[in-house]
């Protein structure tokens, strides 16, 4: 298995050369990072070239890195991690691109490369507010009709901003500011690397 992954990463290095910002092998998985401008062209090549043959887009996941390790994050905040699968070659690849502008993050849409990207990108847009240019139907998908904000951003509170209740006087459902207090039972702790040496009991 290991040799296979090394072969894939060597192929990627050979083909993408300068365009690959990084190729990382970690825990048996290969991650290829490209610039936002190369995101779509890289995807097309990964699909069409027989040596890669990634026929399936399995998943698109947004990540908001702004609270990474409780430290200040110095580069772009939003990234899309796309998981590709090749049935012909039986290998997987994670393709990542950071969206350049934190205020208005935009990436190219992969909808016409793999149709399955459609809903995954709608989800990333809904939850993280990353725009996908060229997407045919970029509507919200999981949140409520008329929802405001992007709930999976790190600065969005878990309890949200509004809650819904039935108002017997107006005899309809109304929105109001949340009444519950945010609480954290277990604080988030980041220790030094290899704290407690978890991997070795």
């Amino acid at each position: 298995m290991t040799t296979k992954i090394e072969r894939l990463s060597a192929l990627l290095g050979e083909h993408f050369g300068e365009r690959a910002k990084s190729i990382v092998i970690d825990r048996g998985e290969v991650t290829l990072e490209v610039a936002a401008d190369d995101y779509r062209s890289a995807a097309i090549e990964l699909r069409d070239r027989a040596e890669f043959a990634f026929e399936q887009l399995v998943d698109v996941s947004g990540v908001d890195y702004s609270a990474w390790a409780n430290r200040e994050w110095t580069r772009e905040r939003y990234a899309a991690s796309t998981h590709l699968l090749s049935i012909a070659n039986n290998w997987r690849l994670r393709l990542r691109a950071f969206a350049p502008d934190d205020g208005f993050p935009v990436l190219d849409s992969l909808c016409d490369v793999w149709p399955s990207a459609n809903w995954f990108e709608r989800e990333v847009f809904d939850l993280f507010g990353i725009m996908f240019s060229g997407h045919p139907d970029l509507r919200r998908i999981l949140t409520d009709y008329g929802f405001v904000g992007h709930p999976f951003r790190k600065d969005f509170p878990v309890s949200g901003y509004v809650e819904m209740r039935y108002d017997p006087e107006q005899r309809r459902v109304v929105y109001q500011p949340v009444t519950i207090e945010p609480r954290e039972n277990t604080p988030r702790v980041v220790r030094e690397a290899n704290y407690g040496d978890v991997g070795h009991g």
Binding site: D26, R27, G28, E29, T31, E55, Q56, L57, V58, D59, S61, V63, D64, A67, W68, A69, N70, S81, H83, I87, N90, R92, R94, W114, P115, S116, N118, W119, F120, E123, R140, I141, L142, T143, D144, P151, F152, V158, E184, T186, R188, V189, V190, R191, A193, N194, Y195, G196, D197, V198, G199, H200, G201
Partner: protein
């Protein structure tokens, strides 16, 4: 001449054939579907966001509630992701127990899928029979974890505890007299493995019964043959996995192609369809149940012969035994740290996928080294399948939409997360 207009109707969210809370906006021309626009998210609970605010172990029970008809498989993918991030090994017996319960879960899921699919398109009786068998398997869930559905039985590093030596038994009450109870308890005299062995011996006969009810049933064939045809190319492009992909003739199963746990040591076959229609996918699911039955038998044999630990002895990941905790200072500290701060997962990211009964269920876990996930993305098979609803339903009759929803095996806990 009368003006002909397209008709837009709302299907669901409260509709018995919508398998939960699916709202479909259908544009019809007469009775033919021109466009289907599924509106989802009515069951969105933000599991991924909630997991970011809990320690790694605290999120295990959330996984049960994703796809609430194949509970343990969801836990499995989540635990696999954590184990790969940490690099911890699961004891062999733990792996066999996991595989056995994965296959029990697969049967549970397919029984519900086929039963309700048949119910939706007119075969009332199926669901009564399939739920009878589900009852036995849920008793196995209950015996091992105490819960009939939301088990929280898999833990990072193994499973919570070993299989019980005794099956719980029925007691006489004012609804069940002594004779009924005696009959019900007949196969519950031994251990859980005896009970399951009895089930695996009975189950092929049940499968034959289902086939008698459906496989050559004229109405069933009229409703499913040639409906929702998906070519192999389309199935790949739409991100189909599991029975939806195999129904179109692509022999792709993660248990064979990218084996996890002990699947590479077990003997089983992968059924594939030919036409890619609803009928073929039904046949694939039927055969998968028989294969799961085979796998369970092999696991039972192995588990009988090989006692051993079921969860890792690494007490940075799994808690020590109660006895050790009460007699040993170091174990007490481990216990306290695990249940207050939780384990620390080293920085990194991992995508762990398993062959879930519905397709490929993946967990993309990103850790920044904290005691909680930094980001957890759950890749659910139903989401990708439902996304192709528009393309699959186009040109079909309104009544076929129900058949297509049924064949996709949609569960909303899984689609909406």
């Amino acid at each position: 001449m009368a003006e002909i207009r397209n008709y837009t109707i709302n299907f669901g969210p409260q509709h018995p054939a919508a398998h939960g809370v699916l709202r479909l906006v259908l544009e019809l021309s007469g009775e033919v579907v021109e466009r289907a626009d599924p509106h989802i998210g009515l069951l969105h609970r933000g599991t991924e966001k909630l997991a970011e605010t809990r320690t790694w172990v605290q999120s295990v029970p959330y996984m049960d509630r994703l796809d609430y008809v194949s509970m343990m498989c969801n836990e499995h993918a989540y635990c696999l992701a954590i184990e790969r991030l940490i690099g911890v090994e699961v004891p062999e017996r733990g792996q066999y127990i996991r595989v056995m319960f994965d296959e029990i879960t697969r049967i549970l899921n397919h029984l519900l899928a086929i039963g309700t699919h048949a119910l939706d398109i007119g075969a009332m009786t199926m669901v009564l029979y399939t739920f009878r068998e589900r009852e036995d398997l849920m008793d196995a869930y209950e015996a091992v974890s105490g819960a009939r559905m939301h088990a929280a039985y898999y833990r990072p590093g193994g499973v919570y505890r070993d299989l019980p030596d005794q099956m719980p038994q029925y007691e006489a009450s004012k609804w069940k007299n002594a004779e009924t109870v005696r009959q019900l308890n007949e196969n519950r005299q031994g251990s859980l493995l005896d009970f399951l062995e009895d089930f695996t011996n009975r189950f092929p006969k049940y499968c034959d019964d289902y086939e008698t009810l459906l496989t050559d049933n004229r109405i069933w064939k009229q409703r499913t043959v040639g409906i929702g045809v998906v070519t192999p190319e389309q199935a790949k492009a739409w991100g189909f996995t599991g029975a939806m992909l195999r129904g179109s003739g692509v022999a792709w199963d993660l248990r064979k192609k990218q084996p996890y746990e002990v699947y590479d040591r077990l003997d089983f076959d992968i059924p594939v369809g030919k036409e890619g229609d609803c009928y073929d996918r039904y046949l694939v699911r039927m055969e998968e149940m028989r294969q799961s039955n085979r796998i369970i038998k092999q696991c039972i044999d192995w588990l009988r012969k090989n006692p051993g630990p079921v969860i890792t002895g690494n007490h940075k990941v799994a808690p020590p035994s109660r006895e050790a905790m009460k007699s040993n200072m170091e174990e007490l500290i481990h216990h306290f740290k695990l249940f207050s701060e939780g384990m620390h997962v080293p920085e990194g990211e991992v995508y762990a996928a398993i062959e879930h009964p519905k397709g490929e269920f993946g967990v993309y876990a990103v850790s920044d080294g904290a005691n909680k996930p930094y980001r957890l993305k759950l890749r659910s098979p139903g989401f990708a399948h439902l996304a192709a609803m528009d393309a699959m339903a186009k040109g079909h009759l309104l009544a076929d939409v129900v058949a297509i929803i049924g064949t996709m095996d949609i569960v909303f806990g899984d689609v909406d997360r």
